[in-house]
């Protein structure tokens, strides 16, 4: 076996955490050394993760850099790691964001620095592990372990209502976690293995799929978050420290979408086809509903949090189109959102550090005394509204295109989010960056210093690079996406119907025509979803 690079990258931060834990000395020097060690370890992790991306073979659909060791033979559980095109960029996103988070917390966090850094290092290990794990149990362990440091980060270093926020966060995610665990146990007992690559090919009985799908859905929908289980996110963001928000928006929200692609789609194709209309409806509601809510927010973080829910609506929409453009668009949207929203939260952090308020009415006219900040803010805002030439556009465009192929009604309503997105982001920009001078203290703030410029530079470069030349990413995710589409094609006959569309059939490599019994009901299904849409339409018009 080659050098186990995935394990190395995954557990290096853990090693750093252990190192921090044994630091001795007075609190002042521990804090200083903790910062440096944490930055060193996370930077090293990022540098070590680069070879994964560079040596990744874009032509292969299979998992690469695979490591496998039997763990519990009787239960079919193993230590199985590997990345494919889908997980590659999420690993990169995690290793990219963490050192910048450490740097962003350099001055903002002064209390219990060591513990804070330990939490971040643990978080990084668990995040990378989640995206590399190819064994169900291993995945579950990492997936759930992520919650613990995040819960602590919000609960200890958070704002005034941190207890409420972390409680809400915990309650929602707990519900999903437990159901997912039950589903996972059932699957392992049934299939005799926890290996995700084997489970993917294992066809569960349709009735069973429905329940398994729902159990996983409960977990992933909360993580996305999808409407109506999204209300923990604004509270969590508002109370979390800046770096916590960055990781939350940048990586944690992507675990839901990743889960759909790894579990729901390829393991339960018939159930996926059955529930697709429901996911479409929820996605469209999420996009329009949360965009409208974002429009009236006065708290900068809340507004960006709600915009995240809307952006994730495009992701779920894209994933469940089950066609190339939709899924590739959804993955790209997740990567792009990971960059843009993370940077936007950093932007909030910059002014929060100076004025200690997130009220948009307290700012204004920052363009005058903070021109560099204003420039950064505007570029990120443009990425967020999906201006062509920024990364935000590619994901939004492809996922909508994929959706339009499947259902013009769903795509058209979702596209309204593009208009609303522009409205609230421009409103935010007007209130904070432009507009007349309102407050003297806001007008007296200094511009970005060297450290802050250094943090933002890679974000700006990425937003534009991914927007102008997204093919580097798209080419690498394409083979794995084809794989997922092939696996997600329903083949079992049963009481299931699939969304009927010629273009979908075209994209799914064969097989789709085999499950014909639900032809009539498929049309009913489609009609149902349209009726629901019409209702929402009427409500919207009123």
């Amino acid at each position: 076996m080659d050098f186990p690079i995935l394990s190395f990258v995954t557990f290096l931060p853990l090693l750093g955490a252990v190192l921090l834990a044994v630091l001795k000395g007075d609190s002042e020097s521990v804090a200083a050394r903790s910062r440096i060690i944490a930055l060193g370890v996370t930077t090293l992790t990022f540098l070590l993760s680069l070879p994964i991306m560079i040596n990744f073979n874009p032509a292969l659909a299979d998992y690469q850099f695979v490591e496998k060791k039997i763990w519990f033979e009787t239960y079919g559980i193993s230590y199985h790691m590997g990345v494919d095109g889908i997980s590659l960029f999420f690993v990169m996103l995690s290793t990219f964001l963490t050192p910048l988070c450490v740097l962003a917390s350099w001055k903002a966090v002064t209390d219990r620095v060591r513990e804070y850094m330990v939490a971040f290092l643990l978080l990084e290990t668990f995040m990378i592990g989640t995206f590399c794990a190819l064994d169900g149990v291993l995945f579950y362990l990492f997936f759930e372990a992520v919650l613990i440091p995040m819960y602590i980060i919000i609960g200890v270093w958070g704002g005034a209502r941190r207890v409420y926020a972390s409680f809400k966060f915990f309650l929602y995610t707990l519900l999903g976690s437990v159901l997912m665990l039950v589903a996972l146990i059932t699957m392992i007992l049934h299939a005799g293995t926890a290996d995700m690559t084997v489970l993917t090919g294992y066809r569960f009985a349709p009735e069973m799929q429905t329940w398994l799908w729902l159990a996983f859905f409960a977990s992933f929908a909360v993580k996305m978050p999808m409407w109506p289980v999204h209300t923990w996110l604004p509270d969590a963001h508002v109370e979390a420290p800046t770096a916590g928000s960055v990781i939350l928006a940048g990586v944690l929200l992507k675990m839901g979408g990743y889960g759909f692609l790894r579990f729901s789609l390829p393991m339960f194709p018939e159930a996926t086809a059955f529930f697709t209309p429901m996911v479409f409806v929820l996605s469209v509601i999420a996009i329009i509903y949360t965009s409208l809510v974002a429009l009236v927010q006065q708290d900068m973080k809340k507004m960006i949090a709600y915009s995240s829910v809307a952006h994730m609506g495009f992701v779920t929409l894209g994933i469940f189109t089950l066609n190339t453009q939709g899924i590739e668009g959804a993955i790209f949207q997740m990567i792009s959102h990971g960059v843009i929203s993370a940077a936007l939260f950093l932007c909030v952090g910059v002014v929060y550090d100076r004025l200690h308020t997130r009220d948009i009415n307290r700012y204004g006219n920052l363009s005058k005394n903070m021109p560099v900040y204003a420039c950064v803010f505007v570029i990120l805002m443009l990425g967020s509204v999906g201006l062509p030439g920024t990364s935000g556009f590619v994901g939004e465009f492809l996922s909508l295109l994929g959706a339009y192929k499947v259902d013009t009604v769903v795509a058209s309503f979702a596209a309204v989010g593009v208009v609303l997105g522009a409205a609230y982001m421009l409103h935010l920009t007007r209130k904070v960056v432009f507009g007349p001078k309102v407050n003297d203290d806001a007008a007296a703030m200094r511009d970005l210093d060297g450290r802050e410029k250094f943090i933002f530079l890679p974000f700006i470069v990425l937003v534009i690079f991914l927007g102008v030349s997204p093919s580097y990413v798209l080419d690498r995710i394409a083979p794995s996406v084809q794989n997922v589409i092939a696996q997600s094609t329903p083949v079992l006959a049963g009481d299931f119907s699939q969304t009927s569309s010629s273009s979908v059939v075209e994209d799914r490599s064969g097989g789709a025509s085999q499950s014909s019994p639900g032809g009539a009901s498929a049309d009913d299904q489609k009609k149902d979803i349209k009726d629901t849409k019409d209702e929402t339409n009427e409500k919207g018009n009123r």
């Binding site: 146990i185 006219n365 363009s367 465009f397 593009v418 798209l474």
Partner: protein, 701 residues
């Protein structure tokens, strides 16, 4: 080959240099870099005019891959064909004038570098739009010019009204862009590509296609055209999505000249012209375009007659003239629309920059009621405004005369059921155009000075750096019509031998039936055609960049309309000018009397047909109310109330009851939640069949 790259990318380089280094290297540096780059681009485009149009050498320049996902592949590439070269010339020439003018106009501003950088950014985005090789790159340019427009309208960001106008412009345009986006999707699904050549070559295979849209089976090409047109309605400020344009006048005047008169707002006209091969097979869509254009031309002109802000009058005039272009497009007179686009770019930019010169002289006053009596003090500006107005009103031998008349004649000559309607609306608008143009001139320059002494003492002619661009544009406003007439009025599609033969037959049969008078007329018009042909080689002027079906060719038929149809626009123009003199110079009591007599009508016009008020109630207020409702009620009460807070409250209640048995509060709280969770989990586990599996599993071991 390199010319195409220079013409498009020079402004981008200038933007990056001025944007990144401007703060360090100073304003002079930025001004020098941006002006040089745009002048270079202009020189390159003029050169391209000779090689591509006169030399019939359209070509495509590759740049790099953009998006590739499954069978959706799109590259960055520059399509340098006749249509895009015409646009490049207009954009780069007007942009050069505006860049140079801005050195003078913005000389007192603090952020000159930023302004010049934005102007160059806009120029680049607009060039990308017109040189796009596929719809998505066009969309990139489309949104890019929207961004530049947003940044420039809100350039004076400390003004609340400016930032509000900038948001309005962006969001209203986004509504149109939504249509464009859906149009792109539909095109891709119908044609399997969004690359122009791929689409246009395959149009004839898809003329009978139906597309399932919202459950209706719609004619695919019509749907595509209508959706694209929605985008054009937004960008080109056609009726319905026009409300942003007058507000956009909050931006500095050079911006209004470049973006909101000469170039960006004509992007919709360009879009439809570019898609002429598709629109030709979607007659219903053409009709919609025509009707929208006709109403826009009329409504905008009515509003223009009543406004007092000098820039807003010109803005409504722009909207009205854009309406002309659209109702020309609607009868397949693409070349006539493009012709008007070109002449309009010159004379409208001239008018705006002239107005800017007036505003500059009047210490930033824009209200015409506070002007007057300044023509002797700023004679050059005064002359420029005259030239611009003469061209706008369509006075013979000025640029607008040729293009506007060609449009109106084409509409009359066309077989389209709405052609005559558009002609009459256009005539009505032409009357009003002449009227408000001279109303503007008289109110601004003549009569007694209505400004205070302080302002009047400062009235001065603009510096040379502002005057020279005006002179360049004035040359365009005078001569662009007569010089280019042959090229644009020629028959754009490639004549086949058969169509040439039928044409000769037609002329012969016409001659047989003609009286002596008509005979002379026919001979004259045919010989005029022949002259233009020798000068311009008109078949090659547009090459294949515009497609007109022989039976739709209204521009060709326009040469044969009745004499009164040709004369009427000029006559109403003269009448309009006369009425303006009558009302504002000779008998100044007329306007007030008219306002009294037609009070409701005046209110309707003056309040801009109440579009803003309507939209404010229907969209702005509703969205805010809905947002608050969903946030407070939906998220706050329903979801959280039933969800986490409900659970918390419930377990608290239960534990209050239980706490009578003297146990710990926290324990109860957690305990109740665990019980609830257990019940749920057990139920789900049972439903999945987990319990059935366990004995089986034990046996297995």
């Amino acid at each position: 080959m390199i010319l195409g790259y220079i013409a498009v990318f020079a402004p981008l380089v200038a933007f990056l240099l001025a944007g990144i280094l401007g703060r360090k290297c100073g304003d002079k540096f930025s001004q020098f870099v941006t002006c040089t780059a745009v002048l270079m681009a202009a020189a390159a485009s003029v050169q391209l005019f000779f090689t591509v149009i006169l030399g019939s050498n359209p070509h495509t320049l590759p740049v790099m891959t953009w998006i590739s996902s499954g069978n959706f592949n799109v590259d960055w590439a520059l399509r340098v064909d006749q249509l895009s070269v015409i646009m490049m010339c207009v954009i780069n020439i007007v942009s050069s004038c505006v860049h140079i003018y801005s050195i003078g106009y913005m000389s007192h501003d603090e952020s000159k570098s930023r302004f010049m950088a934005y102007l160059s950014l806009f120029t680049f985005a607009m060039l990308m739009l017109v040189s796009a090789d596929n719809i998505l790159q066009l969309f990139f340019g489309w949104e890019g010019v929207g961004l530049a427009s947003y940044l420039l309208i809100g350039f004076w960001y400390h003004k609340d009204s400016a930032t509000a106008a900038s948001i309005k412009a962006f969001v209203v345009n986004r509504v149109g862009d939504l249509g464009l986006l859906l149009g792109i999707f539909t095109t891709f699904i119908v044609f399997g590509t969004i690359q122009f050549d791929g689409i246009f070559n395959a149009v004839t295979d898809h003329t009978a296609d139906r597309f399932d849209f919202f459950g209706y089976q719609i004619h695919a090409l019509t749907l595509i055209c209508v959706l694209l047109f929605v985008g054009a309605v937004g960008k080109s400020a056609q009726l319905g999505l026009h409300t942003w344009l007058p507000d956009a006048m909050e931006g500095p005047t050079p911006v209004s000249a470049l973006i909101h008169a000469a170039t960006m707002v004509t992007a919709g006209v360009f879009l439809v012209s570019r898609f002429s091969p598709v629109f030709e097979y979607a007659p219903d869509a053409l009709m919609i375009v025509c009707v929208f254009g006709a109403f826009t031309a009329f409504v905008a002109a009515t509003i223009g007659m009543t406004q007092f802000d000098i820039k807003r009058v010109i803005a409504y005039s722009t909207m009205s003239q854009l309406g002309y272009m659209f109702f020309a497009l609607g009868v397949s007179a693409y070349s006539a629309a493009m012709f008007h686009l070109v002449t309009h770019a010159f004379f409208k930019a001239l008018l705006f920059l002239g107005a800017g010169s007036v505003i500059h002289a009047m210490s930033d006053e824009q209200d015409m009621r506070k002007m007057g009596g300044i023509w002797k003090k700023i004679p050059v500006t005064y002359a420029m405004m005259w030239i611009g107005s003469l061209a706008l009103a369509g006075v013979p031998f000025f640029a607008g005369y040729y293009s506007k008349d060609l449009i109106l004649e084409s509409d009359w000559a066309s077989d389209s059921p709405v052609g005559h309607f558009a002609y009459y609306m256009g005539i009505a608008a032409a009357l009003m155009t002449a009227f408000y143009s001279w109303r503007l001139i008289i109110m601004t320059f003549h009569g007694k000075p209505r400004a205070d002494h302080h302002t009047m003492d400062h009235v001065h002619e603009s510096p040379l750096v502002m005057i020279v661009p005006l002179l360049v544009l004035a040359v365009g406003a005078i001569f662009s019509g007569s010089v280019l007439y042959g090229g644009f009025a020629g028959i754009p599609h490639q004549k086949t031998v058969e169509s040439k033969a039928t044409e000769i037959d037609e002329i012969e049969s016409e001659m047989k039936e003609a009286t002596q008078d008509q005979m002379e007329h026919i001979i004259k018009s045919e010989s005029a055609d022949a002259i233009h042909e020798t000068v311009w080689n008109k078949e090659a002027f547009f090459g294949k960049s515009i497609v007109v079906l022989p039976e739709h060719d209204s521009v060709a038929k326009a040469h044969h309309v009745e004499k009164w149809v040709k004369l009427l626009p000029t006559i109403v123009g003269a009448v309009g000018i006369f009425l303006a003199y009558l009302a504002y110079m000779f008998i100044p009591s007329i306007p007030a009397a008219m306002v009294r007599i037609f009070k409701p009508l005046h209110i309707l016009f003056f309040r801009k047909w109440f579009f803003d008020e309507l939209y404010h109630i229907v969209f702005v207020k509703t969205a805010a109310a809905l947002g608050t409702f969903l946030w407070k009620r939906g998220d706050g009460q329903v979801i959280d109330g039933l969800g986490p807070n409900g659970v918390a409250a419930l377990s608290q209640k239960v534990s209050t009851v239980l706490s009578k048995f003297q146990t710990g509060f926290v324990f109860q709280y957690a305990f109740m939640m665990m019980i609830g969770l257990m019940v749920l989990v057990t139920w789900v586990a049972h439903a999945m069949g987990l319990f059935d599996l366990i004995p089986q599993f034990l046996n297995m071991r």
